[in-house]
């Protein structure tokens, strides 16, 4: 029985692969034509490279968290392009390192919510019935609680720190992911090729992960990109009110919060982290918009 299945799928692979590649190429061509989206992509790539390579030229212990009280509030200079903060730490090193934290949590939250959301949403959409109803009503309940409130409650109950932040923001995003995956699955599961796979006796799990989800990737990808952007804003917000990343880790929102009292005297303290947040979130939003346009089958010309 199982032998038969494998052969059927292996036969299908070359055709499938070829089609997929060409489709990706079409999407990329359409995406490339969108200038704003390309700007976003370039910006985000730079940010990503900075985040990944930061340890090569910044020493966390020495440059990021070591305080030099005698060097407090130094304005922008060659040695410290963005100046130093209230503990005499170089703001540039902290902002660059902060990119790592924001990206990590942003991507982490999407990974968590995507994982849970895909399983729940795909199974709910595919099996339907009472199971679908139970899952989706639970999601509705979670969705009814304002996102930031939910995150604040979870972080306040469990304490700050990156792990709890991931959990809090992840839970917040799960219902949204679940709904998007479910709606895609609902439209796909009546397609002829799914019927064909079923007729061949392919297992449900295999159908969901091999045949349905890859074809539903478009809206999920758009949602994921926008979620990273939203999450970065949420982390900054939670850290700003003191519930996010724990000191001395350099988080952009926390940096702004710490500089708040000195805003009248040393305004440059908030420039760098503020601009970093704006650039990252804008670039991700532009990419998300671009992807949405590129993936929309109605826009095929």
């Amino acid at each position: 029985m199982s032998d038969f299945n494998t052969t059927a799928v292996v036969d299908a692979i070359p055709v499938h692969k070829y089609k997929k590649k060409s489709q990706a190429y079409v999407i990329w061509r359409r995406f490339k034509r969108n200038r704003m989206a390309m700007i976003g992509l370039v910006l985000f790539t730079i940010m990503l490279i900075v985040a990944i390579t930061a340890p090569l030229y910044i020493d966390y212990d020495k440059d990021v968290i070591t305080q030099t009280i005698s060097m407090r509030y130094q304005g922008p200079s060659l040695a410290h392009p963005f100046g130093t903060d209230h503990f005499g730490r170089d703001i540039m090193s902290r902002v660059l390192w902060g990119a790592r934290i924001s990206m990590f949590v942003g991507v982490g939250v999407v990974a968590i919510s995507l994982f849970i959301g895909s399983i729940l949403g795909a199974s709910a959409g595919y099996f339907g019935g009472v199971y679908d109803n139970v899952i989706m009503r639970i999601m509705d309940i979670v969705l009814a609680i304002p996102g930031t409130m939910l995150a604040i409650t979870i972080v306040a109950a469990l304490g700050g720190g990156i792990a709890n932040l991931l959990l809090a923001l992840g839970i917040e995003q799960v219902p949204k992911m679940t709904r998007i995956v479910r709606s895609s699955v609902l439209t796909l599961k009546r397609q002829d090729y799914i019927e064909a796979a079923k007729a061949c006796g392919t297992g449900n799990v295999r159908i969901i992960f091999k045949h349905i989800l890859p074809n539903a990737i478009g809206p999920i990808l758009v949602q994921a990109t926008l979620t990273v952007a939203r999450t970065i804003i949420s982390i900054a917000g939670l850290s700003f009110i003191g519930l996010g990343v724990l000191p001395p880790a350099p988080e952009w929102g926390a940096m702004i919060s710490e500089a708040k009292t000195q805003l009248m005297n040393y305004p440059y303290l908030v420039y760098a982290p503020g601009i970093a947040i704006v650039l990252t979130v804008t670039s991700l939003t532009l990419i998300g918009d671009g992807l949405r346009d590129a993936l929309d089958p109605k826009l095929k010309n």
Binding site: A156, G159, G242, L246, P247, T261
Partner: protein, 547 residues
Amino acid sequence: MKKRFLSVLGMAMSAVMLFSACGGSGTSSNTGGSTSEPTNKAVVTTSGGGAEATGTTDKDTLVFVMNAEPTSMEPGATSTGDSYPRMTNIQIYETLLRQKMGDKTTLEPLLCDSYEFSEDGLHINFAIKQGVKFHNGDEMTVDDVAYSINKALAMPNVQELADMIEDAEVIDDTHVQVNLKYAYSPVLNILVNPAFSIISQKYYEQCQADGTNFGRNPMGTGAYKFVSWQNGANIKLAANENWHKGDVAIKNVEFRFMADATTAAIALESGDSDIFYGVDSADLPRLRENPDINVLSVQSAGFYFIALNTDGPNEALKNDKVRKAINMAVNRQEIIDGGQDGVGWVTECPITPGIFGYQEDFHADPYDVEAAKALLAEAGYPDGLTIQMKTPESSYYSRPAQVIQEELRQIGITVDLQVMERGAFNTDVGNRDYESIYFWIGSSFPDADNIVYKLFHSQFAHSGLATNMACINSPEADELVEKGRQELDPDARMEIYKQLSELNNENAWYIPILTSTNTLCARNYVNNAYGDSAAYYYIADWSFNRE
């Protein structure tokens, strides 16, 4: 694409405008509110904007801004060290004695004419001032006085302050005697605390009977009568025309609450307010340079410290070598510079500078990173260790705590710093759920006993009043504290507090760090405004400059 960008920009701009519009209307409606107050019909001034500060010829409302709101104005219902209800309560109520204006070490009679100690120091006989009237017109009697003191003694918050006072009893029509359990030299200072405010027995019992919340409808004999309390916004008071000490110069007082210190500082600069209590150290230099503002800074009545929980979940902190290493690893001046913008005094003994018992010549183990590391290795932690530290979320705590975190990292101790919401922090402290904390303790009156009794006595180590935050259970410390409490000779007491400071340094239970300032910022047309380490600001002493 371009169009969309422009529309986003437009939206952002309109949002900015919306915010600024809100700010503007907020201010003007506030000013409008104070002019339309029925009690100051005679004047129209404040609406012109307090900004024309010097022309105060007909100004009659003092706007007093503070960061937080009292939880209740019932005497003794709040912590006796809490300065927010104190600032409002001492205007409305009066105590038997008060601090002399500008000299907190001298007390002068307020609701009494004179007082006399018995020879054994166990009884104080107060001759109560006659003809004093409550705001509702009733005359204050000796029964009210004895009732108020006995009622205060029954309040849980007053226990740690006044457990040496037995009771108060009426002697005759003009005298009330306060009885002590044992002779206690600073007892008069305790009676100055607003917890011992004199209230009307009749009015209080009437409130109880008809369910009125006395704490929100206060009534006393003070210079100002309560007018209104708007939650989260303000408390308004008006002058008491029948005050037993004559007329007050400032006719109306509005206590306004602004949680954000920077906003409140700007309100003072723009002339929206006249007095501001609770300035952030970041705004201080700017306010000092402003010729229209007097910055009245005095040393605060309390100090900041690290308490290491010697009976907590972290085994390492039970080891006195680890604690001593931490004691050597802190550089107090650096904490003041980095955490408090250089505003503060190094504090090395567990007693606030400036109060009786402070050890001027006492020095804790000096800052020495290498010695601290060696000590840590000796204690069995050559590779360092992790300790958790909790602190409330205000920048007064979290910023110095971050410098401490960094300094301890230098000797290999990783501090897991948890900056917590104030309520959650208090709960954890009450439950002893912490390894160490960075916190503050204040004295309600200028005597060391008020602090060391709370900090060191084993009685408070595990009881509901969680003031022995290091959870010390040391017979030696108990004995010293009790001796200091009952000794009457000042020199002998100084010696006892010296020994106690040394004992604390040897064991490093508490690591005193710094003493901050208590700062009152006043527009310069407020005459006689003064700084006070414990926020005893009697507005009746003040006036507006009419020139």
